[in-house]
């Protein structure tokens, strides 16, 4: 029995659809993932002129990531802390710090594994490099479950 292959035109259509599908898949999986390479949703939970805090869910765990504005360094000697309304405190940490351990070079993160509180205060010491000072940051945060 003779087998029928798709015509060249039909093959192009199939190929194009396949290409679009593959590209869509690639785009979907390339979304910013924080640390673990898994695409996740993220939510801005606090922001100031010096730092921005975003909540992400990575492998089912909520993680808060703190990003410094351009030209601002986050003090690693005084690690940022999330003070929650139920009295718990969650410290931020990062493996990436300057050689003298004074500033974070990577965005510090805090895992909220067991946290149930929905409100809290984010404290950080942020140091604008332009003027060589540190400022204390205190921001209200709302944490969705």
């Amino acid at each position: 029995m003779r087998r029928r292959w798709p015509s060249p035109a039909g093959f192009r259509v199939l190929s194009r659809r396949l290409a679009i599908g593959v590209c869509t898949l690639l785009v979907a999986t390339s979304c910013d993932d924080g640390a673990d390479g898994e695409g996740i949703d993220e939510l801005l939970i606090a922001s100031s002129d010096l730092v921005t805090a975003r909540l992400r869910v990575v492998h089912g765990t909520r993680v808060v990531r703190l990003d410094a504005a351009p030209g601002v360094r986050i003090n690693a000697r005084l690690r940022p802390v999330l003070e929650l309304d139920d009295g718990t405190r969650v410290a931020f940490s990062s493996d990436s710090v300057t050689a003298d351990s004074s500033y974070f070079t990577g965005a510090p993160r805090a895992r909220l594994d067991t946290v149930r509180a929905r409100q809290g205060i984010l404290r950080a010491s942020a140091c604008p490099a332009e003027v060589n000072v540190c400022r204390s940051i205190m921001l209200d945060v709302s944490i969705p479950r």
Binding site: C31, D41, L78, S136
Partner: protein
Amino acid sequence: MRQSDLASIGHSFPARRCRYTRSMSGNFPASSRLALGAPTRHATARGRAMPDDVTGQGTLVRRGATTTNGGSSHALIISAPLRTAVGTAVALSSARPASTLAGRISVAMSPQSDADPGRLAPAWSNKSWLNTPGPIALESLRGRVVLLNFWVFTCYNCTNTLPSLRALDAEYRSKGLSLIGIHTPEFPPYAGEHDRGNVAKALLKYKITYPIAQDNDNASWKLYGVQYWPSFVLIDKQGRIRHEGYGEFHVGDRTHIEWERRIKSLLAE
């Protein structure tokens, strides 16, 4: 985390950030790229100094005064139309964060000379002191020039400045300068900054021998309207605030030289 749950507590959803858009949109909302000096929730919101150079080598200004540059005071000459345009900024200078454009303009334009007497320095009432047998009252320092340094040992910019302060102390203590460190914590007590033992260790580590007051309730910080670590206040022999500034500096740099010039000037009065 469902979108409907988040919306119910007032969250808005940013666009899903993917790599192909991230490089174009950046990590921060446009507002976060604005000036660094917008007040935070607890800020005292009273900017009054400005960086005196682009390298950020600290600052040295008089209260609402002319900026100083390279050891000589000068007023910013500005055209009349521009002066009008920034008039509002000048009027609001006392409440304008120092590092905003308006803050820079307002400080730069404020006319004040070295001869300005300044306001009377408020008396601090710190109870816990180190490197001294007992509390030191401002009143007891009348007749001496006093340099206050607001700092905390967890602040890198503060500890970087300590060698410079040690040098000033070594050179001018016997000539009438009293350097007083006001150790003001940034975080609540759990961070360890309030602990007297930790402060004592820092004094040993950085070889500080001048008196240090623990300002654990931030009372002196608020009294002097300080916003940044490190900050400095220079008080003359009559107990008046003559110069204020903030920011790290080092032995021999322009800001150090300028502070030294100010100290010598007040000692000579």
